[in-house]
Amino acid sequence: MSKEVYILGGYQTDFARNWSKERKHFVAMIRESVQGALREAKVAPEEIESGHVGNFAASLYSKQGHIGAFFVEADPAFSGLPTGRHEAACASGSIALLAASAEIEAGRYDVQCVVGVEQMKTVNAAVGGDFLGTAAWYELEAKGIEFPFPKLFGKLGDEYDKRYGLKDEHLAEISAINYANGKLNPNAQTRTWYMNKEHALASDEFNGAVGGRVKISDCSQVTDGSATVILASAAFASKWAARNGVKLENIPRIKGWGHNTARIRFDDKVRESKDAEYVLPHVRSTILNARKRAGIADVSGIDCIETHDCFTTSEYMAIDHFGLTAPGESWKAVEDGTIALGGRCPINPSGGLIGAGHPVGASGVRQVLDAYKQVTDTAGDYQVAGAKNVQTLNIGGSGTTSVSFVVGA
């Protein structure tokens, strides 16, 4: 039995939308996202055999549990399908993808629909910040702290500074690149926002500090959104290829995956890595495992990256962990243009979490969808010319759960 997992297509909602202002329930988002994916992937709803939902905290944001059941509401044909919800904070979408692909590999199902979804604008920023704190060890790291996550990722920057030195101008450049890329993405949350490197460098009334060295321009912003992809076995993909007049070998696949979970407290992670080569060794291991399973020796085989830039410090960390530079030298890839669109290995051509937006449970699926768009030459204005292999990195918590996929045909 073939173990290959194909991606037939997908869809993302416009991350600039505020579904609370539209006075909508998140089921509307799931419905638009899933129906869009079926349309884009040319798959009939009756062909879907199982549904997986990645979601972080609907129980907090919308006081609703049992999110897997809402998949069934997306189409009348889904009644009776097996579904489930997957949660690993900001990596929820990737965990849903892992579960779905594992079921295909195991031969249980041939066609899977994976939807990531989060509605976050139901509450104000302070309440939302507190909810996000549950992605850390809440009692120890977040309770009673205003905006705990910017502070935790500020500490990641501090750790780099301590070990290797870190300049704010490199973080500002990362922010500016993500915003600039987001302007090319018609689904990006920030595509109309005003941003430039000078603004990202400024510390003033419009760009205040929210967590140590982390300023507003260093943060991805909460938003509402959903992304969906349709995964298939080789058996179904062959049939699908025949009916759509394409070659099976031209359909993108999940070529490799990596998945690790480190200790949940940030300080424990850093303590464990104090003598290690990398600040977050489990993240490094996740990236390497994905490439190894894909049969790609090193980062030179990767054409672009969609990484988890929840903050500029997390992208700064990702640069050396992906192997684009030696440990502690991420600044070199920022300075020499490696990560910019048009560079050797662009990071986040979509705009990433900072530019495209970060509806938590959707981000992992959105990354894989953007990887699919890149390798099928359908990314439009943010297309990386000739992209063959794209790697993602999705992180839950303060570098706690990490998942990486390699997508390519």
């Binding site: 006075r23 909508k24 988002m29």
Partner: protein, 440 residues
């Protein structure tokens, strides 16, 4: 890299814009449009009646986009500096008060001072581009066009592009692409007709609601033609926000210069003119169709100049709206609009007449205001944040829409009557049509 991209790149490279001058930079459209250019060019000069006023525009621009870095690219001056800076500029953007003689006076000065190859754009929301260019030099008319941003320009991306009869077609192609790629705009080409496309269609609907409000009251009208019919902001609250004086200027201009099948719905109702004589101008005057008394919202009592608390107005049974809104809330837009078509009662009839009128009027303007319905769809969606007429047709269904329009007593557009069954009219690849249906 594909050929269209290559040709797009060579088109973008065909002109350089390094210096933009904004006339009227203290007004919202002046500084709001001017700040967009600071994202694309290194130098933008804000001019106003005095340097102080231009500085006020700069401060407002910084606040609008929440960035002090705007100041790094903007210099300011008064109209005394016009000749000097217009001589240096690659693009002169006019945003002075919407009065024909005043704009013509500025264009005469610009014409005398500008380089022969510089672009001149006006942000007028409805004055004729050809009239504005009358008496100007050949090179001015060749390089002159309308670039109609909507307010606030940093949020609303729909932008109308209007050529005069002498405008260089290559310049239009360039500005269209430049505005899309460098300024993040959604560009819609319209003909040089009164109100262009967006205001022509949009203010027809708004004015019709104002006419109907004389009998039914503004509170009921804003319920009947509320968010559930495909808009974020209700019609008469929109007129209050825009300002009654602006509304009047737009509809008067359209009424004076056009004659169409729905002409009567564009004539300003007399009660509005009478109230304007007493100083009622919408939000800017503290009262319009609605006003606030502390936390309480009041509505104009039809036929009077008095107001009553909205929560004390006895409304008819509007449960059908709640049912439709609930379907929108869970994303079942097709079912919601089917319920709209089937709803019983006089209020549903009024709503269907207004929406049928909107669809009918939009499709009837194809050829007159835009080349295809897509232009009108895009400006209504990306400029007004209303469900575009084609989205309504697609969601309701073609035969059901035609039947609704016929039943409402408005003319069925030939484009719809002749369309093949199953035709879908709105095929934009990235706009989420669901966003237009608000559950309220």
């Amino acid at each position: 890299m594909s050929t269209p991209t290559q040709s797009a790149q060579s088109l973008l490279a065909s002109r350089e814009i390094n210096h933009v001058v904004v006339l009227g930079a203290n007004g919202t459209m002046g500084f709001g449009s001017g700040v967009l250019f600071t994202q694309a060019v290194p130098r933008v000069t804000f001019l106003a009646r005095s340097k102080e006023k231009a500085e006020q525009g700069l401060a407002a621009a910084k606040a609008m986009v929440r960035s002090n870095t705007v100041g790094q690219r903007v210099d300011t001056g008064s109209y005394d500096d016009l000749e000097k800076v217009c001589g240096e500029a690659d693009l002169i953007f006019e945003a002075v008060t919407e009065q024909l003689p005043l704009k013509q006076e500025f264009f005469a000065r610009v014409d005398a001072a500008r380089r022969p190859d510089s672009i001149v754009a006006t942000v007028t929301s409805g004055l004729s581009i050809n009239t504005l260019a009358e008496g100007r030099s050949d090179s001015f008319r060749k390089n002159f066009l309308g670039l109609h941003f909507f307010n606030p320009p940093n949020v609303i991306v729909g932008t109308e592009l209007i050529a005069g009869k002498d405008t260089d077609p290559a310049l239009l192609d360039f500005i269209e692409l430049y505005s899309e790629k460098k300024l993040g705009r959604t560009m819609i080409r319209t003909h040089d007709t009164a109100g262009f496309a967006g205001n022509r269609v949009g203010f027809k609907v708004l004015n019709e609601c104002a006419i109907l409000a004389e009998q039914h009251g503004p509170a009921l009208m804003d319920k009947i033609v509320g968010p559930y019919t495909g808009r974020a902001l209700t019609p008469l609250a929109t007129v209050d926000l825009v300002g009654w004086d602006i509304h009047r200027a737009i509809v008067d201009n359209i009424v004076a210069l056009t004659k169409d099948e729905a002409h009567d719905t564009l004539v300003l109702p007399k009660y509005m003119a009478d109230l304007m004589d007493q100083g009622t101008l919408g939000n800017k005057s503290g009262r319009g169709f609605f006003m606030r008394d502390g936390k309480r919202k009041l509505a104009l009592i039809p036929g009077t100049d008095r107001y009553q608390p909205v929560d004390e107005i006895k409304m008819p049974d509007l449960s059908y709206i709640a049912e439709i809104a609930e379907l929108h809330r869970i994303g079942r837009y097709d079912a919601a609009m089917a319920a709209f078509v089937a709803a019983k009662g006089p209020e549903a009839d009024i709503a269907r007449k207004v929406i049928s009128g909107y669809i009918s009027y939009s499709f009837h303007r194809v050829g007159e205001c835009t080349d295809t319905i897509t232009g009108i769809d895009l400006i209504m969606g990306q400029g007004f944040n209303w469900a575009p007429p084609s989205v309504l047709v697609d969601t309701i269904g073609l035969p059901e829409t035609i039947a609704m329009i016929e039943k409402s007593g408005v003319p069925v557009p030939s484009i719809l009557a002749k369309a093949a069954p199953g035709t879908r009219f709105f095929n934009h690849p990235t706009i989420n049509v669901g966003k237009f249906f608000v559950a309220g």
